[in-house]
C-alpha cells in the first residue's frame, strides 16, 4: 500500500495489533536485513523511515522517505525534522533500526529523550568491529544487538542469532 508523502497505518491485516513500530533502515543490505525480520514487526502498525532511492521509492509499504545527506544536506535536514516530528507526535511503542547512519545518530538520542523504546541491530556485514554509527547509537539504544557471536562477546553486546 503506497502512502505517497503522508503516513498511513498498515492495514494489510484485518485487526493490526495497535502498537506503533517505526523501522529505520538505509537501502540495500540494511533494508534487506530489516525485511528479513518482517515476521517480528509485520503484525504491528509499522512504518518505514528510509532514504529516498531508486530501490525504496516504489516500495509498497507505509514509509517516510528522507533525502540522503550525501545528496543534499538541506534536504536531509528537512527529512530528519519530519521524522523527528512523527516520532514526537506518534510516540511509537518501539523503534527498530538495522542501520541508517546519520539518521540513527539523531533519532536514537531523541528516542531516549522522549521515552521511545529503541532497538539497534548492527548489520551482519560487520564481523570484527561495529560501525561508527553503532558506537554512537549504543549509548542511547535500549537494546544493542550484533549478529556475530564472537563480536558480541568481545564488545559486550547482545547476540540472538546470526545472519545465516
Amino acid at each position: 500500500m503506497r502512502t505517497g508523502k503522508g503516513l498511513r497505518s498498515n492495514t494489510d491485516t484485518l485487526f493490526p495489533l495497535t502498537m506503533k513500530v517505526v523501522l529505520l533502515c538505509s537501502w540495500g543490505g540494511h533494508l534487506q536485513e530489516m525485511l528479513d525480520l518482517r515476521g517480528a514487526w509485520g503484525p504491528y502498525d509499522y512504518r518505514f523511515i528510509t532514504y529516498r532511492s531508486e530501490r525504496t521509492r516504489g516500495m509498497d509499504e507505509p514509509l517516510l522517505l528522507i533525502e540522503p545527506p550525501w545528496n543534499s544536506i538541506p534536504g536531509f535536514l528537512w527529512g530528519l525534522m519530519r521524522a523527528a516530528k512523527s516520532l514526537l507526535f506518534d510516540r511509537p511503542g518501539v523503534l527498530i533500526s538495522t542501520g541508517m547512519g546519520w539518521t540513527d545518530i539523531f533519532l536514537f538520542p531523541l528516542c531516549r529523550l522522549i521515552g521511545v523504546y529503541s532497538i539497534y541491530i548492527e548489520s551482519g556485514a560487520n564481523v570484527d568491529y561495529v560501525s561508527g554509527t553503532a558506537r554512537i547509537v549504543r549509548k542511547f539504544a535500549d537494546r544493542f544487538i550484533v549478529k556475530w557471536e564472537g563480536l558480541a562477546e568481545e564488545i559486550g553486546a547482545e547476540y540472538h542469532g546470526g545472519i545465516f
Binding site: 495489533l17 495497535t18 502498537m19 513500530v21 540495500g28 543490505g29 540494511h30 533494508l31 534487506q32 536485513e33 528479513d36 525480520l37 515476521g39 517480528a40 514487526w41 504491528y44 532511492s53 531508486e54 530501490r55 525504496t56 521509492r57 516504489g58 516500495m59 509498497d60 511503542g93 518501539v94 527498530i96 523504546y117 532497538i119 541491530i121 548489520s123 551482519g124 556485514a125 560487520n126 564481523v127 570484527d128 568491529y129 537494546r143 544487538i145 549478529k147 540472538h160 542469532g161 546470526g162 545472519i163 545465516f164
Partner: protein, 153 residues
C-alpha cells in the same frame, strides 16, 4: 555492486559473458558502466530487483549482505568477490570473512583474484546443496520482545 571501484569486476564479467551461455545482468550503480555483452542498469525499484533475483541461476557479487541473503533464500549459488579483491588495501576486510562463511556453508565460492573469476563461476555452477533453512533465532527473539513491549505477554 554499486561503486565505481568495481569497474574492473564489471569489465571482467562483461568479457566473460559471451562464453557463459546465459544472459548476464548487472547492477552497476553510479559507475555508469555499459556492457557490450551484458544488460546493465544503475538501480531498480525493490520489486523489480527482487524479480531479477527470482530469475537468476547464479549470482556474482561482492559479498554484500543483501545480495547474499537474497541468493541464499532462493538457493542460488553465489560467486563472491569481496571488496578487497577489486580494491586491494580496502580498509575493511570484513567481506572476506562473510564470504568464507558462505563458502563454508557450501553455498558459494570465493574468488581471490579477478583472473580467477571464470574458474570461480564454473565452480559456482557446479555447487549442489539442499534447500536453505535460515536461522530465525533473531526474528523469534524480536517477535517475543515486541509482544512484551505491546503488553501481549
Amino acid at each position: 555492486m554499486n561503486d565505481a571501484p568495481y569497474l574492473p569486476l564489471f569489465e571482467a564479467m562483461d568479457g566473460l559473458a559471451p562464453s557463459l551461455g546465459e544472459e548476464v545482468v548487472m547492477q552497476v550503480g553510479p559507475s555508469g558502466f555499459e556492457g557490450k555483452n551484458s544488460r546493465c542498469f544503475r538501480y531498480l525499484p525493490e520489486d523489480e530487483m527482487q524479480a531479477v533475483f527470482d530469475r537468476a541461476g547464479l549470482i556474482v557479487c561482492h559479498a554484500g549482505i543483501g545480495t547474499i541473503l537474497n541468493g541464499m533464500d532462493r538457493n542460488i549459488p553465489l560467486v563472491l568477490v569481496p571488496r578487497c579483491v577489486v580494491r586491494p588495501g580496502a580498509e575493511t576486510d570484513q567481506q572476506m570473512t562473510v564470504a568464507r562463511k558462505v563458502e563454508a556453508l557450501g553455498r558459494g565460492v570465493v574468488v581471490e583474484t579477478l583472473d580467477g573469476l571464470g574458474a570461480g563461476i564454473a565452480r559456482g555452477r557446479a555447487l549442489e546443496f539442499g534447500p536453505y533453512e535460515r536461522d530465525t533465532s533473531l526474528c523469534d527473539f524480536l517477535s517475543d520482545l515486541l509482544r512484551e513491549r505491546a503488553g501481549l505477554v
